[in-house]
Amino acid sequence: MTTLSNDARAALDRSHKRFERAWERFSQARPFARAGHLPPLLDASMSLLQQPGGVQRLYPHAIEFDALGVFAGSDWSEPAALRPELVSGTFAGKAPIIAVELLSELRILAIAEGLLDHPGMDATQARGFLETLLALNLARLFPRHDEADRTRPAQQTRAITLTLQFIVEHIGYASVLDAVVQEAESMLAQRPILVQTICHMIAELGRSEPESRAKPLFDALFRPSAATADDPGVARYQAHLSAMTGEEIEAEAHTFARHLSTTGLASAYHAVLIRHLRGVAPTLLPIALALSSTGRDAMLSYQELVLRLIDEAVYPETAQAVYGLHALLERGALYFPPVPRGLWRQIVHPIRKEVQIKLREVYGPAKPPRVWLLSGLIQVLGQPLGIGQGDNPTCQSARALSLWAQSDPGYLLQLLLWATRDGAIVMSFEGEAISSKHLDAALAGDLHTELDPISLILVPHLDRIYGEMWRRVADRGADGHRWINPEFHGWWVQRGFAICVDIFSGAVIDFDAFIRRFHANYHPYYNGNQPVIFPQPAGIASTTPHGEFVGWHAITIQRVGLGPSGEMRVYFNNPNNEGRQDWGGGVVTSVTGQGEIPGESSLSFDQFCSRLYLFHYDPLEQGEPDAVDAQVLAEIAHAAATSWAAGRAFN
């Protein structure tokens, strides 16, 4: 049970009171007059359901919905006629319809729990309905974010999620087990920095069905080794460790390392083990951190720094920093000369007050702010492809952080220092300095804080500067990314700029040449077999599973290469936390099994082209644009024209 902040409780009470009044007006009205009281009731329901704890307060009324005619005259009046497959479509609709759907689900839950007898549906049927419903709507149960969701009012999404979570807690996770496990596994395959949602899923699963397919994941988190088989708690595990022989400890280290490399998850016990080894047997650290010879070498080269990082940042509360440290060492990030120096500086540098307050506000008082910040930094530098934008429309800033962590980590460390020391960062735009200090909040006005600590601190600054750059190019009569991308990200963003959409009319222009150019610069068969040197920002027209246009979305092209089945693929990073996307028309991004490095998404080169609308290239590299097959181009053009470009003028 989560405890609510005072604000959240006040909001809950307010919504609850409003709902009860609406309910009173509705339920006490003469039956013939109820229809008029229904819209305010639905509105109040939606507002209550979106508050944490709200579903619980509304649920007692669910047994009365049918009798009082909440569903009278609507498609929901006969539960037996309802189809769980259709619910996801309803969830994509307008608020009042979503409200009716959610109330209907709660009514069915009341039937399943035996609280309500319904002539058209018995408890078993009700349960079956809800199980199917949950399995088909896992994405809403454990929200991962995609662009279509972000542009829908967030409150509706929240009401749906909270209601589904309430239902699953009542009927048990067992019912949706397989589907959830698969979901958790494929999320983990992308090695995200933020794993709270996944851990939450695994914990719920493991608790309800200890001996299931969820076992490996549950074990990795809660009973990873022989000495933790009974989930003894951190304090008792520490005591166990102190009593162990050298051999036993080494065995523990191996076991933990295996979990770490197979799942990407570090349990709180793992952090305890690492801290213990750092004190008594540092030579076992490479084993416990699951290091290969590369990582081992990095660790030996920078041993003092690594030990200090463990002291400063690896705690049970920040256990994922163990994976971050593993990744940092494995990718050799410490060999960028500014990185070890920057880390030393960050360790000792004081953090300004308001940054401390922010960190404490978001991550809590369990550890001092500097611990959250440093553990986040280790993860960002170790897992550049695991950075996500959270529930914020700031894909540009998230992508920039990922790009710097990959290509220019020294610069990232500098930005962080400015932000945590000065409370402002300064970037140069066409020779003029822009400071984030006096700029208004842009997209991230109301930043959703489910973010890693580095994003939490930097994104508000980055977003402001990015917004200011847009302001400065607003009247140039062409798409501003042309000038902003290289200035914002770094010199290594190529100055050649291709866009296939007229920003004023929305028309698609010269698509054929656009795609030929992309082939000539990125496709190894047409560019003289050149790899992507620095990951490059690019723009995608994101679409729904039905191929309808959602919006422009920033991604990074990581590399282009042959997939395991021999076809050319584009490997890219999607900063929206969730690489698995169904963009309609068979364009489904893959995150594992097609040669992806964890955190990468991939599509076949042609499919990628069908959603691409903007990229950068080196204008001096000509490549062979004319060699691209006309038939291939026609197919790509068709796929674009029938999805995101539908309804646009198309040349």
């Binding site: 909001a11 409003r18 003469r30 039956p31 013939f32 109040a44 507002s47 608020a95």
Partner: protein
């Protein structure tokens, strides 16, 4: 006499035979519901399209199309009299003269018909008020655009305006429409060009600079039984009850004005809804009066604030069989018995193109916010408002402090509900 089908069968009405049998003229679900929950026998007289709904819900019903009064009006009066109906209550402006005609038969008081005609014609109404010694602004009837221009010029000459000074506006209203319907503000002769010919004849009034408010008064045996003052925050946008102490301080003076009105219009029973201006020097000007429930859901607000049902109050006030004790017991004490202030705000889209309904955070999270009746937009393009237009739905508030309520309602005008 042609046959009129009567759907009063089937329903077991829980009513007290010592009390009156009332007929509701016009279709209002809230009024019907109030009657259904009350202790008197009732019947709804409304157009044919309501028949099926009434049959399904066992609502006693007589179909009747309220067009202009004609020779058949006596027919419906006769029919109601045969049924044993004691009195009928108009729910809409359009049924006021019908109620007058029918009640003059039911109660055998022929003057009621003439009285109803006064309520239905804003021009006659003003003259009558003036004859009764009630202060009204300058007014005139207009039959064409020329009349309007002449009136505008004359009013401004009277105000000693010089050539080139900005005009004081004048108001143009339909004779027989409720509230803001067909209400235009005219400042220049150019404004007159925009008035379509079919809006004539109309009533012209000078503009009164002052505080406009409305009153709701329930009258029985010639006496005021409950008097409410509704405070407009901005005319056409928002109203709340009870009013602020600043307006309530005029209560005695207002009561005096209403008593004058009762005498002048010879009102013995029923419900009136007049509008007044009070100018800076505390002079009360009569605007107009209606003999029917106000628009803008003031009845609902009163129920929220005081807990009594204003429609039931109307039934009591109209019913000749109501007793003094019953009326005494029904109405609360004015102002002091209110549990708080209830207000509502009429939303107009502020943008020319809208995509969706989105309750502003400031509204949604305010303690006083209760609920709204807004619908998602059906069309993206917002038609330009002419005259005062109609709002897209109401947002309701309730809270203890009159000033907070007033400021809150005012603040809504700056928010976008449709984006």
């Amino acid at each position: 006499m042609s046959k009129v089908e009567l759907t009063v069968k089937g329903k077991k009405q829980d009513f007290d035979r010592s009390k009156g049998f009332i007929a509701l003229l016009g279709w209002s679900l809230n009024a019907i519901e109030a009657a259904d929950r009350f202790d008197r026998r009732y019947v709804v007289v409304a157009p044919h399209w309501a028949e099926e709904f009434c049959r399904e819900n066992e609502i006693p019903f007589i179909p009747w199309d309220f067009e202009r009064l004609n020779e058949r009006s006596f027919e419906i009066a006769q029919l109601l009299q045969d049924l044993g109906v004691d009195v009928c209550i108009p729910l809409y402006e359009e049924t006021v003269e019908w109620a007058g005609a029918i009640n003059s038969v039911l109660l055998d008081q022929p003057r009621l018909f003439g009285q109803a005609l006064l309520f239905r014609d804003k021009s006659l109404m003003k003259r009558r008020a003036q004859l009764g010694g009630i202060r009204v602004g300058i007014f005139e009837e207009a039959h064409d655009k020329g009349d309007v221009i002449r009136f505008l010029r004359r009013v401004n000459q009277t105000l000693l305006k010089l050539e080139g000074d900005p005009n004081d506006p004048i108001h143009m209203k339909a004779f027989d429409k409720a509230g803001c319907l067909g209400h235009r503000v005219i400042r220049t002769p150019d404004d007159v060009d925009n008035v379509p010919d079919h809006e004539f004849p109309a009533l012209l009034e000078s503009h009164l600079d002052g505080w406009e408010f409305a009153v709701e008064a329930w009258i029985h045996n010639g006496k005021i039984r409950f008097l409410n003052i509704s405070e407009y925050v901005t005319l056409g946008y928002s109203v709340f009850v009870p009013a602020t102490p600043e307006l309530e301080q005029y209560r005695d003076q207002i009561r005096g004005e209403i008593e004058k009105l009762i005498k002048t219009f010879d009102i013995d029973f029923g419900f009136i809804h007049p509008e007044y201006f009070v100018t800076k020097d505390n002079v009360m000007y009569f605007g107009e009066v209606a003999y029917r429930p106000p628009g803008f859901k003031v009845f609902e607000l009163l129920e929220r604030a005081y807990g009594f049902n204003a429609y039931q109050g109307m039934i009591l006030a109209f019913d000749p069989k109501s007793t003094e004790e019953e009326i005494e017991a029904f109405f609360p004490r004015e102002v002091v018995d209110a549990k708080g202030h209830a207000g509502c705000f009429g939303v107009y889209p502020r943008r020319r193109v809208v995509n969706e309904l989105q309750i502003p955070k400031e509204t949604e999270e305010h303690d006083y916010f209760e609920f709204h009746e807004l619908q998602p937009p059906l069309e993206q393009k917002v038609t330009k408002r002419n005259a005062f237009g109609t709002h897209w739905g109401l947002v309701y508030f309730f809270g203890d402090d009159a000033h907070r309520m007033r400021d809150l309602l005012k603040a809504q005008e700056e928010l976008d509900f449709y984006v």
